[in-house]
C-alpha cells in the first residue's frame, strides 16, 4: 500500500496533480450549484412578489368604477 502511495518516489507530484484536478473541478461544480440554487430562490421570491402584486392591481381597477 505504501508503495502505491509513494509512486516510485514521485508520489508528491502525482498525487498533487490528481488532487488539484479533483479540487478545482469540485470547486467549480459546487460554485455553479450554489449559484444556481441562490438564483432559483431569488427568482421564486421575485415571481411570488410580482404575482401577488398583479391581482391587487386588477382588483383596484375593478373597484374603481364602484367607488
Amino acid at each position: 500500500m505504501n508503495e502505491f502511495f509513494s509512486m516510485g518516489g514521485y508520489g508528491s507530484y502525482i498525487w498533487a496533480s490528481y488532487g488539484l484536478a479533483a479540487l478545482a473541478m469540485i470547486i467549480l461544480l459546487v460554485m455553479t450549484l450554489r449559484g444556481l440554487r441562490q438564483s432559483q430562490t431569488e427568482l421564486d421570491q421575485l415571481e411570488t412578489v410580482l404575482k401577488a402584486r398583479r391581482p391587487r392591481r386588477t382588483r383596484t381597477t375593478d373597484q374603481s368604477p364602484t367607488s
Binding site: I14, A21, L46, R54
Partner: protein, 263 residues
C-alpha cells in the same frame, strides 16, 4: 438548429439527458482513475510520473475543445444574435479556463521531475498560457458592461480573434522543436502510444467531457435565471404594466426569438 436553440427546448432536452450523463461520467471517472493509477503500466523512461498524463492530456484537450465551442458560440451570437449561443459561450468559459489552468499546473508538476524545471518558455507552454489569458480576458470582458448585449458582442469578438491561438497550440510542438514532446495520439498515421496507456487516456477524456456537459447545462440554467431576474426587476421597477405583458426585451426573448426563427 434554431429549433434546438430555443431555451425551453434546450432545458427540456438537456434535463432529460442529465441523469444519464451524470451516471456515465461517474462510471467513466471511476474506471479512468482505476486504469490511470493502478491498471496501467509505468513508462520505461518516466516511471510513475506518466500517470500525470492521464490528467494533463485530457485537460489540455478539454481546454482547446471548450475554446473552440466558446468561439463557435461567439460566432453564432454575433451572426444570429441568438441569446442561447451567448449564454453557452459564457457558461463554457469558466470550465475551459479551469481545464487550461489544470493543464498548466499538472504540466508543471510533471516538468519538474522529468525536465528538471517547473516552467520554460517553450512554444506549447507559452501558447497554452495565452489560452488561459484569453479565457480570463473573455470572462472579464463579458462582465465588464452594464448592458449584457454589449458585453456579449465584445466577448464574442475576443473569442473569435483568439481562436487563431488554437491551431498554434496544436501545432506548436511541430513548428517549434523545443522541450515539450510532440503529439502521440491525434497525429497523422495513428496513435503511437501503447493501448494500455491510450485506454485510460481516452476514458478520462470522455469523463472530462461528461463533466463539461454537466457544468455547462447547470451554468446555462444559472445564466437564464439571472437574466430572468434582471428582466423581472426591470419590469417591476420601471414598468407599471403587469409583468406578463411580455413587452420587455429580455423577458420575451423566448417568444421573440421564435418569431425570428420561423420567418
Amino acid at each position: 438548429m434554431h429549433r434546438f436553440a430555443k431555451p425551453s427546448v434546450f432545458l427540456k432536452l438537456t434535463g432529460a439527458m442529465m441523469p444519464w450523463v451524470v451516471a456515465l461520467t461517474v462510471i467513466l471517472t471511476a474506471a479512468g482513475l482505476y486504469l490511470a493509477l493502478i491498471g496501467s503500466p509505468v513508462d520505461y523512461q518516466q516511471g510513475n510520473t506518466v500517470r500525470i498524463m492521464y490528467i494533463h492530456v485530457p485537460a489540455a484537450w478539454m481546454g482547446l475543445f471548450c475554446y473552440v465551442g466558446m468561439a463557435l458560440c461567439g460566432a453564432m451570437s454575433l451572426i444570429w444574435k441568438h441569446p442561447l449561443a451567448d449564454i453557452c459561450a459564457r457558461a463554457t468559459a469558466p470550465v475551459g479556463a479551469t481545464f487550461t489552468a489544470l493543464t498548466l499546473i499538472t504540466g508543471s508538476l510533471w516538468g519538474e521531475p522529468m525536465w528538471g524545471t517547473w516552467w520554460v518558455w517553450d512554444a506549447r507552454l507559452t501558447s497554452m498560457l495565452i489560452l488561459l489569458f484569453l479565457y480570463l480576458g473573455y470572462i472579464a470582458l463579458v462582465n465588464a458592461f452594464d448592458d449584457p448585449e454589449r458585453g456579449s458582442k465584445a466577448g464574442s469578438a475576443l473569442a473569435l480573434v483568439g481562436a487563431i491561438n488554437v491551431p498554434i497550440v496544436k501545432f506548436s510542438v511541430d513548428w517549434w522543436n523545443t522541450l515539450h514532446q510532440p503529439a502521440s495520439v491525434a497525429r497523422m498515421g495513428g496513435p503511437t502510444i501503447d493501448p494500455s496507456m491510450l485506454a485510460p487516456l481516452l476514458i478520462m477524456a470522455f469523463a472530462f467531457t461528461g463533466y463539461y456537459f454537466i457544468v455547462l447545462v447547470l451554468r446555462v440554467r444559472l445564466e437564464l435565471n439571472q437574466r430572468r431576474i434582471r428582466a423581472l426587476q426591470l419590469s417591476g421597477l420601471f414598468d407599471e404594466r403587469p409583468v406578463a405583458s411580455g413587452d420587455h426585451d429580455e423577458l420575451a426573448y423566448d417568444q421573440g426569438h421564435n418569431a425570428g426563427a420561423s420567418k
